[in-house]
């Protein structure tokens, strides 16, 4: 698995090098014109957030019920990545909204829930840092509840009438705007690959820390 790391980085770098070119080349969208181009990375980052939240939820559940240290490593790594990708998602959405809606922020359902998701996983990191011994389990509970809230973020825009583009946008994109469809999935692929790479790097850090702790314990004997 480790051998795949360098090739993965190369592929991801190539994808991210091509992405701005592809985004500059694709046609404008009829109502929002240039600013709509934020969509390609905005949607892609939310794909990464979904992957990240899922990994965190599952890893937290495994850690809570089985106590596997590896699961804990994946849980904390994906929680950190969730806060990073979610932050970019809200930032890009805010810039897009400034042009498309005229306001920097709107308290509609999806934006509110996204903000909540950020707070939940930031709380995860806080509880790990300041919770004292045994905080990994408490954080795992937080990870499970956070992952449970995530589907509501996706569906919320359909359930509450808002000015946020509904999830039906993606379904019609293939027919109405095939260039955009291909590009957005390309960007999503790039982001997911980036997620996997950064996850691997972050998990490596946790493994090294665990190794160090074991070395300290062995030295005390």
């Amino acid at each position: 698995m480790r051998k795949l790391f360098i090739p993965a980085v190369v592929v991801a770098a190539a994808m991210f090098a091509w992405a701005p070119i592809g985004i500059a080349r694709v046609e404008y969208e009829s109502t929002m014109l240039l600013v709509q181009k934020i969509f390609y990375f905005h949607f892609a980052t939310w794909m990464a957030v979904t992957a990240s939240v899922t990994v965190c939820g599952i890893a937290s559940a495994i850690y809570l019920f089985r106590g596997t240290p590896a699961a804990d490593h994946y849980a904390v790594a994906s929680a950190e990545l969730t806060t990073i990708f979610c932050l970019f998602g809200m930032f890009s959405g805010s810039l897009w909204g400034r042009k498309a809606w005229g306001v920097w922020w709107q308290w509609d359902a999806r934006l509110t829930m996204a903000f909540l998701l950020e707070l939940v996983f930031f709380g995860y990191l806080l509880v790990r840092k300041y919770g004292g011994p045994g905080a990994e389990k408490l954080a795992a509970a937080m990870g499970i509840f956070g992952a449970a809230t995530a589907p509501f973020i996706y569906k919320s825009v359909d359930w509450w009438r808002t000015i946020h583009p509904q999830t039906t946008v993606m379904k019609t994109l293939g027919d109405k705007f095939p260039a955009a469809w291909n590009l957005v999935w390309f960007c999503s692929g790039a982001f997911l690959l980036l997620f996997v790479i950064t996850l691997a790097a972050r998990v490596r850090l946790e493994q090294l820390r665990a190794q160090l702790d074991r070395a300290y314990l062995a030295a005390e004997e």
């Binding site: 009829s30 109502t31 600013v35 890009s92 569906k155 359930w159 946008v169 820390r209 062995a218």
Partner: protein, 97 residues
């Protein structure tokens, strides 16, 4: 125990379509239907959006670079601690080996 857990899981699964049904029953029409492509842009539209688009992508680049740098820095610290520990072991001559 197992039966109760299954029952609890089934109950929660039932909750989702129930809430979805109530929500969809009272749904309002969509605010926006889909993206439609167009070629040729009226000049007045282009300028204000460019800094926003560039800013979004630049922020992403900076954020990822910053995050990867923090991982690299933390790994460096852990490895330094490990080397220090090994040196202390070597110098002190541990009994456990």
């Amino acid at each position: 125990m197992m039966v109760r857990r299954i029952g609890v899981c089934l109950m929660s699964l039932l909750a989702v379509p129930f809430t979805a049904a109530t929500a969809f029953a009272l749904q309002q029409p969509a605010a926006q239907d889909g993206f439609v492509p167009v070629t040729g842009v009226p000049a007045s539209e282009q300028v204000p959006a460019a800094p926003l688009v560039v800013g979004a992508y630049a922020f992403f680049l900076l954020l990822m670079m910053f995050y990867l740098w923090t991982i690299w820095r933390r790994i460096g610290k852990v490895e330094a601690d490990m080397h220090a520990l090994e040196r202390r072991q070597g110098a002190g001559g541990s009994h456990a080996g």
